[in-house]
Subunit: 154 residues, 2 copies
């Protein structure tokens, strides 16, 4: 159950008005681009779109619940916002193990695509694998790095 370069996992969801308005209510980001249909219609996308950070948050969902999964320490994330997510778009966030680093740290390629295969968010995450306390060879407490929870694209 070890982690290996190339392992991946995904999470998909159709983004609805409900999601965007809920996210606006929680974060306070009531930018007209997201919640004002009249102003958004006159803007560059011609309609309301989802918050970029909402789409990016699904990366965290994959990391925290699938790969590497619960217990993972999320150290950092970088994202580039490349395309808008419109209400009704179905997006898929994918995490791929890119590089195994020292001290249980792993660099992940993280990206979100829409139903047309267009990348809407692209970037990298740095995480620390979950560890389990155990007994070392000499009876001392040691920490064992736990493996990745899921290895397949779902």
């Amino acid at each position: 159950m070890g982690c290996a370069v190339g392992q991946m996992a995904s999470f998909s969801k159709t983004i609805t008005e409900t999601d965007v308005y809920g996210f606006a209510g929680i974060t306070g980001d009531f930018n007209p681009l997201h919640v004002d249909a009249v102003k958004a219609e006159a803007g560059r996308f011609g309609e309301r779109i989802a918050h970029g950070m909402l789409s990016a948050s699904f990366i965290s969902t994959v990391i925290a619940t699938r790969l590497p999964g619960p217990g993972t320490i999320y150290m950092g994330q970088e994202v580039r916002f490349l395309n808008p997510v419109r209400f009704g778009d179905t997006i898929t966030a994918t995490v791929v193990i890119e590089e195994l680093l020292d001290r249980g740290r792993v660099r992940l390629h993280t990206f979100v695509e829409n139903q047309k295969g267009e990348t809407v968010v692209d970037g990298y995450a740095l995480v620390k694998l979950p560890r389990k306390e155990g007994e070392g060879e000499n009876g001392e407490k040691s920490k064992q790095i736990l493996g990745c929870h899921l290895q397949s694209r779902s």
Copy 2:
């Protein structure tokens, strides 16, 4: 009303169980660390904590609604998750103009602190300032870079 290095704006909110459960419902991130009081109590923080990406999302709130404000194009964000946000913590997301780049792009220092002044999220954003179409000197259409909407820490 131009943008200048050092201008800053902030947004504060007390993070509650309601926020965290709402965010979990929208994103699907039901990591026990956030929504299972029993498991979280046995974990490294001793209680449930907020999602890192929830705290990071308030950076987007400041950018989209205050500085530079509506019309800003959010190109990218990098964040490091440094400390947990516990239910009841009051966090303040702050954006500071760090560098004015070419083509209306601006590099922002972005960070989130808790009520004790501890940094919980730190990083940088790249944005493009809002532009307004207008008439150029020779009657051609030109785009004018609009200034920053807010200049003070609020």
